[in-house]
């Protein structure tokens, strides 16, 4: 288990298990052919966000993955669907912990976090939905490396 320090919100998560789950599907998912565009960009990483806003930004990104990526991912391969469901459950667990921080007033959504999230969403919306889903799923290793740096 890894402890993530997100401002005054502290949660634990098994990033290694998520990384392993992702590695198992990485080679079997459709290739992201759009290599000139990146959704999770270096200009909006979690770790460069002010600590106070990190919890909120991560919460919103996880919600994006849950509501618009995992839910809309299409594949005939049920094993991949199983793995994606496992990833979604891991994200749900983290999101629930972040919500507890919110309840305890430790997850404020400041201007910077919301600005970064809206930029990220605009990159996501630049693409057709199916392509955006494939790209976002392919960028899960980027999100995990952002989370990895939150110790």
């Amino acid at each position: 288990l890894k402890t993530l320090h997100l401002g005054s919100c502290m949660i634990t998560s098994s990033l290694q298990a998520i990384q392993s789950g992702f590695s198992e599907i990485q080679d079997r998912q459709p290739k992201d052919e759009i290599i000139d565009l990146r959704i999770l960009r270096k200009t909006q990483p979690l770790q460069d966000t002010k600590p106070a806003g990190q919890c909120c930004l991560l919460h919103h990104v996880l919600r994006l993955y849950l509501d618009r990526v995992f839910k809309n991912y299409q594949t005939p391969d049920h094993r991949i669907l199983q793995k994606i469901s496992g990833l979604a459950n891991s994200f749900l667990t983290i999101k629930k912990d972040l919500w507890l921080c919110h309840v305890h007033m430790a997850c404020p959504c400041g201007e910077e976090a919301m600005e970064k999230y809206s930029q990220l969403m605009s990159h996501f919306k630049e693409l057709q939905p199916p392509a955006a889903v494939v790209k976002a799923l392919g960028e899960l290793d980027i999100l995990l490396s952002w989370m990895e740096e939150m110790d």
């Binding site: 990033l15 290694q16 990384q19 392993s20 290599i35 000139d36 270096k42 990895e148």
Partner: protein, 213 residues
């Protein structure tokens, strides 16, 4: 006009990375002639321009060192090779997305084994990578992978082994029989990225015990 299939000129374009030394390699195709020349380009994922790799334009060898060009740990990269044969036929193939953090393999650690009369000390030396910080400081594997740790085994006999492990660099196996040869293996491990090096192997013979002569 039917496009000629030239995919037989070039295959297996991929990065091979160990300790963050990132080498692009490829194979010629079954039909390609020895005088086929290759040119390499690389790009950062999310950007539009491809960059020509100086020193790897119209080469005949089948590898190109892209360590410096792919050295930013937060970036992901692509590379592509264009093969052109004497007849002017050409083919271009691209790598998968490359992340050095994810794809690099860890080499065995560099260890000095120091035998004493009743113990063997093992000192793991830092492993420097080609990665530099902004102010020119060269990073070690330990700097990059915060959870890197070492796992040491000393084979006492066919059935019995002693184990030590941790993030520190100095270890010592105690309680050994003097004037006896032992086999030690040391492995580097990074749980977060599920990486584990091949073992460094050292043979050491404990010294004769002078205290009782």
């Amino acid at each position: 006009h039917i496009a000629e299939d030239t995919s037989d000129l070039l295959q297996h374009v991929k990065f091979q990375s160990s300790n963050f030394e990132n080498i692009l390699t490829w194979d010629s195709g079954p039909e390609s002639a020895p005088d086929t020349v290759y040119s390499v380009q690389y790009k950062t994922y999310g950007e539009t321009e491809w960059q020509a790799k100086e020193g790897c334009q119209r080469i005949t060898r089948k590898s190109c060192n892209l360590t410096m060009e792919t050295g930013n740990l937060t970036d992901l990269y692509y590379a592509r090779v264009t093969a052109i044969d004497a007849g002017g036929r050409s083919a271009t193939k691209m790598t998968d997305r490359f992340s050095s953090l994810q794809h690099t393999i860890i080499k065995p650690p560099d260890v000095t084994c120091i035998p004493k009369a009743r113990s063997i000390q093992m000192i793991v030396h830092p492993t420097y990578t080609p990665i530099h910080t902004g102010n020119g400081h060269r990073l070690t594997l330990e700097d990059i992978f915060q959870d890197l740790f070492y796992h040491l085994k000393l084979h006492i006999n066919h059935t019995y082994q002693m184990h030590l492990g941790g993030k520190q660099r100095e270890f010592e196996f105690f309680g050994l029989t003097p004037d006896t040869e032992f086999l030690g293996t040391i492995v580097s491990s990074v749980p977060t990225w599920s990486k584990e090096s091949a073992p460094y192997v050292c043979r050491a013979k404990t010294l004769p015990d002078q205290t009782w002569t």
